[in-house]
Symmetry: C2
Subunit: 370 residues, 2 copies
């Protein structure tokens, strides 16, 4: 089977595995760089290969609006279009419809909205989302869901009901996982009973993977971790588990320890464009004057192209001078940092020492008193 998921080691609730796809095998746990508009911002694909990226995410909402999924299908699909021959995951468009677009109407059938680009009117339904994602041709595709504010129970209950009905329709529209694996998305906000109910319902549709959605949208980190804790016991052990939109280095450690396998987040490239570098000692604002004469690399222990070649002084100069090369170098470093961070986490699981590794990492990264 194309999408076999092999767990090769467990350490507490954490798992290390291989997820096989038609475009190659993904080591899990995995951090997945985000190529919103069919480009991981500023980073050419050969750089992503160099830093051993595996799975890349692209956004259905954005690509549907521009350049259109019919065009991408006509041009050979998303892999060929964006020149990424390894696995790709597309989201369903749900999250962006609710966060970016101007909504005209949500009903039980779907959502009518206006494009954030040109105000043009569009409609997404479970069936349309499946059609778009089939046009794009990603290896892993996602059910169209409603992603609500996670703390308002009445709103969340309605969203869960819709998400389940939409998941059923997505499954019906995409019953065969042999070339594209359709993952279900558990909703339920911060309410344990709704998460349990959602996790159990989705399994009746027999998805090859399950995501936890609706987190990292404003709730506390504690609430996020607790929600993972109450959800994973109701997810099947032998299927990959995807925590959507989460990628802070500390969250990756906490969530892997809680049994999650796949992660995506725009944070590394977004903070790079604001001049911040991720390091084991937390984020560094590379625009600060303290770096102006600093001959050290951004992260002295890092083996990436940026850190092996350039000084903090040079990168600060590039940022101050508004040279895009500075944003590129920080984007490269930050994505590389998360990929290598996750490789280290996976290695710790394989060696059965994730708890020790995680505690040491969190103490340093969060600058907790020892």
């Amino acid at each position: 089977m194309s999408f076999e998921f092999e767990i090769v080691a467990e350490d507490g609730n954490a798992r290390a595995g291989w997820l096989h796809t038609p475009h190659g095998t993904i080591p899990t746990p995995i951090y997945c760089p985000v190529g919103t508009q069919a480009s991981v911002k500023m980073i050419p694909p050969r750089d992503l290969h160099e830093m051993q990226a595996s799975l890349i995410l692209a956004n259905t909402y954005h690509l549907h609006l521009r350049p259109g999924s019919d065009l991408i299908r006509e041009l050979g699909g998303l892999h060929q279009f964006m020149v990424w021959d390894q696995p790709i995951l597309t989201d369903s468009g749900g999250f962006q419809v609710f966060s970016l677009a101007q909504i005209n109407k949500i009903d039980d059938d779907g959502v009518t909205f206006r494009s954030h680009i040109d105000g043009s009117k569009h409609r997404l339904t479970p069936e349309i989302s499946m059609q778009i994602q089939e046009n794009l041709g990603a290896d892993i595709i996602m059910c169209f869901d409603q992603c609500p504010t996670p703390t308002d129970r009445a709103v969340v209950e309605l969203a869960v009901r819709r998400t389940h009905e939409w998941a059923r329709r997505c499954r019906q529209a995409h019953p065969d996982d042999s070339t594209q694996a359709l993952f279900g998305i558990v909703q339920g906000g911060v309410f344990p009973d709704l998460r349990e109910q959602s996790a159990l319902f989705l399994q009746t549709l027999d998805f090859p993977g399950y995501a936890i959605g609706g987190l990292a949208v404003g709730e506390t980190k504690t609430a996020m971790y607790e929600t993972i804790d109450v959800t994973t016991p109701f997810l099947p052990r032998n299927k990959p588990r995807y925590l959507m939109g989460v990628g802070d280095p500390d969250d990756l450690v906490e969530a892997v320890m809680r049994g999650m396998d796949i992660f995506d987040c725009v944070m590394p490239t977004r903070v790079a464009r604001h001049g911040a570098a991720l390091t084991l000692d937390g984020r560094i604002n590379m625009r600060n004057a303290e770096h102006s004469r600093d001959q050290r690399p951004v992260d002295p222990g890092c083996l990436c192209y940026c850190c092996q070649n350039f000084t903090r002084a040079y990168i600060r100069h590039l940022l101050k001078a508004e040279e895009l090369l500075g944003l590129y170098l920080l984007s490269y470093h930050n994505v590389h940092f998360l990929i290598k961070h996750m490789e280290a986490i996976r290695e710790a699981i394989l060696q059965g020492r994730l708890r020790e590794y995680g505690q040491r990492f969190l103490t340093r990264y969060l600058r907790r008193p020892l």
Copy 2:
């Protein structure tokens, strides 16, 4: 001698040679990418190596204002700062002072001006320009000159007189070319007698190379070519000749045929940032709708990273979606195009068929009727 210039072939007035510098040997004729603020815009140094760039230009005016040449000297010099271990050329700051800054006062001693960045007041004189360029540590440095509108005779005459006096002072401040070669700059606008006078005067100062300045600033191409024609007979044959700020593909052919050796121009990266690609058939606006379904590379005959991997359709999408990767890929292609264009010109000189090569190129590039 560090800066020996060997002419290995001549074809009409054109010459192919080697210019030896402390950071390596430059094949001539050479197109030199411009790293205004110590970065060739968007292109990391390893990409410049890959496309076999040799000499890189950086701007004294910009680096003096930000981050300051003292800082760059303290950090090991410009080669180390911008991670370019091959030859670098710095201009004198003259051109930018006259084109970018708000001038407060030009006198025979120098120029007082306000920074275009923050309005702060600065002064450049021949001696200060030499000091800054010695701090930066480029292999080839330039005399501080006054670059006037080339068509107003009275203005040009005064500028020539100042340029000569300033060249004399630069020579006095930098008498030794063993680690940094100081080139003189011929001024004289479009006036043949002034160009002759300037070329002859500068030779009394025995520079290891000579530039023609004050062109490509608004005069016609015919006037530019004629000015080269009337100047080169008065330049020594055995010294490199640098045509400042010129880099249109057709101008490179015309100027090499007239005996020029070194060229710099921001055009390739600038037009890339406006979405244009250089090809043998002229410039292509990659934003045009006609490219939206085009599976061909930007330039089907091109061997660069952009053209070997990406379609016009993808690049157009990136430009429309305002993804910086699109500007990077076009910048890469355009700089690569000019470097390879000049390699082909050099090869034609070595084979003694530059006239034929040049005519064929110009016919195609300028879409002249056959």
